[in-house]
Symmetry: C2
Subunit: 329 residues, 2 copies
Amino acid sequence: MVTIRDVAKKSGVSVATVSRVLNANGYVHEDTRKKVMAAVDELKYSPNEVARSLYKKKSKLVGLLLPDITNPFFPQLARGVEDEMQKGGYRILFGNSDENAEKELDYLNTFTQNNVVGIISATNNKAKNNYKNLSIPVVFLDRTSSDYPSVYADGKEGGRIAAEEIVKRGSKRITILKGPAHIQPAQDRFQGALEVLSQSNIDFHVMSTTSFAFEDAEKWAKELFATYPDTDGVLASNDIVATAVLHEALRLGKSIPDELQIIGFDDIPQSSLLFPSLSTIRQPAYEMGKEAAQLLVKIINQEKIQQQQVQLPVTFIDRNTTRKVDTNG
Amino acid sequence: MVTIRDVAKKSGVSVATVSRVLNANGYVHEDTRKKVMAAVDELKYSPNEVARSLYKKKSKLVGLLLPDITNPFFPQLARGVEDEMQKGGYRILFGNSDENAEKELDYLNTFTQNNVVGIISATNNKAKNNYKNLSIPVVFLDRTSSDYPSVYADGKEGGRIAAEEIVKRGSKRITILKGPAHIQPAQDRFQGALEVLSQSNIDFHVMSTTSFAFEDAEKWAKELFATYPDTDGVLASNDIVATAVLHEALRLGKSIPDELQIIGFDDIPQSSLLFPSLSTIRQPAYEMGKEAAQLLVKIINQEKIQQQQVQLPVTFIDRNTTRKVDTNG
DNA sequence: CTTAAATGTGTAAACGGTTACATATTAATT
DNA sequence: AATTAATATGTAACCGTTTACACATTTAAG
């Protein structure tokens, strides 16, 4: 390994001078700067971030904690975070928590032990006080929080829109699939939908589900049609569940969207490739990731923050699992 | 921040002793061990990995470089890597390369600057010599390599199987969608399929595509049916493209699998949730990630390796975009 | 009982950077 | 010409660990 001392020797100056040219810090004569840069090039020197981090007590690393990268909603988030962090020269220490408090704590420890300069967490764990005594900034992603910086989409509004749209398009016996109880965003969606349907005079059922996993999704779908065979509108807790519902409905020979309308949530990339393509409430996942990253670097740089909580808007994506609404009405 | 010195002071011993109890190194009296552990607990001391890494010249970090986490094949890989690494106490420094040599090099630098102890790379870049003068072990994932440790699925065999199965099921005018030229695994699949079809007396076309992106997939699909409207069997370069083909075929009112059979490649999670569900060649992505991680930690630990190249088998997943084969034949 | 080996602990030097401080030279100011 | 400010560079301490080495004490062996 070539160190700053090797560069210093080769260019005939002290390590301090080398450090100064590398960091463009303090005074250094143009001639010596050139000598040093030449030595750097020749030796292919590249500073050891670990040593730098040790002295400075801060690295160029940020921790990113997601529930599960395997859930198709999260890669977009992650990508948004990464692309933005990349710009600021930050790199990502990555972990999946599985919404498991122990794993989460474990990762939080790793992050601090590695001098990360900030953390972005998209977990929905109750164990908030894992974060209480962290000395580094945290921003929560896809999760509302009044006491921490956070960026999230307007889930409640999303739920409302979904309910309004499905009603407007004529569903009369709606089933709301309520997502896992401990996932706040899922509850927000549910509340929004509930609010609208409660105030309407449309029949509806609520069916609880306990996970967002692929493997479970088909089970809920079967259960749904077994329990409520005459439902003509499903508000799914997310696009995965919606996809499973769509799949099962087609298997049962239901005509979509004529007999049954389905609205998902998230707008994961593959939703547009289904047939019929899935109508859904879009969360701007990539932008959310970016936004979170921007917020975090602002906090790291001690910039003034206008808004600790960033709420991003949600939009209805009108595809083919919903009927066309009468536009002249 | 509480350091080893604070613990030493509190427990009335030297830092060397504290270090010894923490690392279970050298001799230390049981009584002092207890004293030290008590101080550790009381102060909630947790060692600074950065300092440790600096002295030892190796961290507990491994670099993971993927083309794009947003491509649904990769989260599974990543998860396999992470789960396995987690077991060994390693954490993941993560990056997306976008198959861009500059980004790739940039990440490789970051990795080494941060003293990672190994790298797993799933890129398909020509710029192999980015890896030449790395002093840390690298294993390539989803990519064949004779001169580096690598784990990959048997793409060529996968291509053969796909071709055989679609022929066996009666397609007579087959289109092979050839994936991007610079993606070796895509070429392997293509070669396998080509091999089988060349030796048969079935008509077939080859159509080249240049990316695996969602946005492009629909374009290829439309182009496919515009160019070869009478094709009755498609061998897609991966499940995304297959999904787009399926979508477009259904849109055109083709009956699947009766008029048109489709076989994908990868078996990404959502393939089973399509309707009709997608027949495909399964790559064991999660296992590949795990295998790569296992191989890397073996190399890190200087264990004897029997096989530098591990090739995982590929299987035909017979779902509903292919016809049922006559079993009594 | 003497000696050697095993056990237990501390001091200080690394690891590879950054920077406070000291010092020297040159340029600007009066 | 004398003084001050700006420029340029080096020395050494520091960041928080680990470990080589030294030394002391206990235990085992002869």
